[in-house]
Amino acid sequence: MSIEIDARGLPCPQPVIKTKEGLEKAKGKELVIIVSTSESRDNVLRFLSHSGININKVEENNGSFYIYTEKTNRIPINVEKNEYICSTSQINFGTTIFINKDRIGHGNDELGYNLMKAFITTIKDLSVQPKTLCFMNSGVKLTVNGAETIPYLKNLEEKGIEILVCGTCLSFYNIKDKLAVGKISNMYDISETMLKSSKVITI
């Protein structure tokens, strides 16, 4: 009896995290971990070795790597991210801009609103472009019909910049049906986007 962990296609360090979860459930069983890159294989092997778990064999079959462990009851070590080399191809190299209110800064609201509008207007003219814009809390008000920012955001979306809008926030402000640009999104997508980005700028 063995536990199979299929971590093929998962971005680094997910295969290591899945392995850790598998070990926690192993309770005396063997583990078979399947990964799709040699880098993930090495990371998983390194993690198993650090956790003191012996490997029975490693096989390569049809581009997948199968790692067979001994029967184990061991409690795995914690996954220290910097120990596992994640290739840059698994990181979304872009910049995410997190807009969590409908104005910039504190102080005068009219000034703050105009600064936000100016910020969004300016993005399109810059030589560097963000990869994603995430809108949360009152920031979602910038993405609905009637907002002066709509034409600029639409323009950015046409240029391929992803616009994620928090669905919970749209519902909260009762403006979900007015969404005019971007994609309704959730905390999973938004937090994952932020974690995958090489840089997150909070406005």
Partner: protein
């Protein structure tokens, strides 16, 4: 091709005030950051339709809003071009 008037002010208070006054007068306008071609300092300016320029100037005068300059901005297929009036 669209023609706009870019109105610059000595101070962003005036720019925001001008925007309020334009709104009250139902004049189509936008506050935008002062284009790099005009100034490197942070500031807002107002962008209005060129055809409304005289109307806008009257409204500004009537409301005692001093402005610095008015530039003509023409949206062209390739980028933007600023022309002094």
């Amino acid at each position: 091709m669209n023609s706009y008037a870019i109105i610059t002010f000595h101070n962003s208070h005036f720019a925001l005030k001008a925007k309020r006054v334009f709104d009250n007068n139902r004049l189509k306008s936008e506050t935008i950051p002062v284009p790099r071609e005009l100034s490197s300092e942070c500031g807002f300016c107002c962008k209005v339709l060129w055809k409304d320029k005289d109307l806008v100037e009257n409204v500004l005068k009537k409301n005692n809003i001093a402005y610095e300059n008015i530039y003509r901005w023409e949206d062209k297929a390739k980028g933007k071009k600023f022309n002094f009036v």
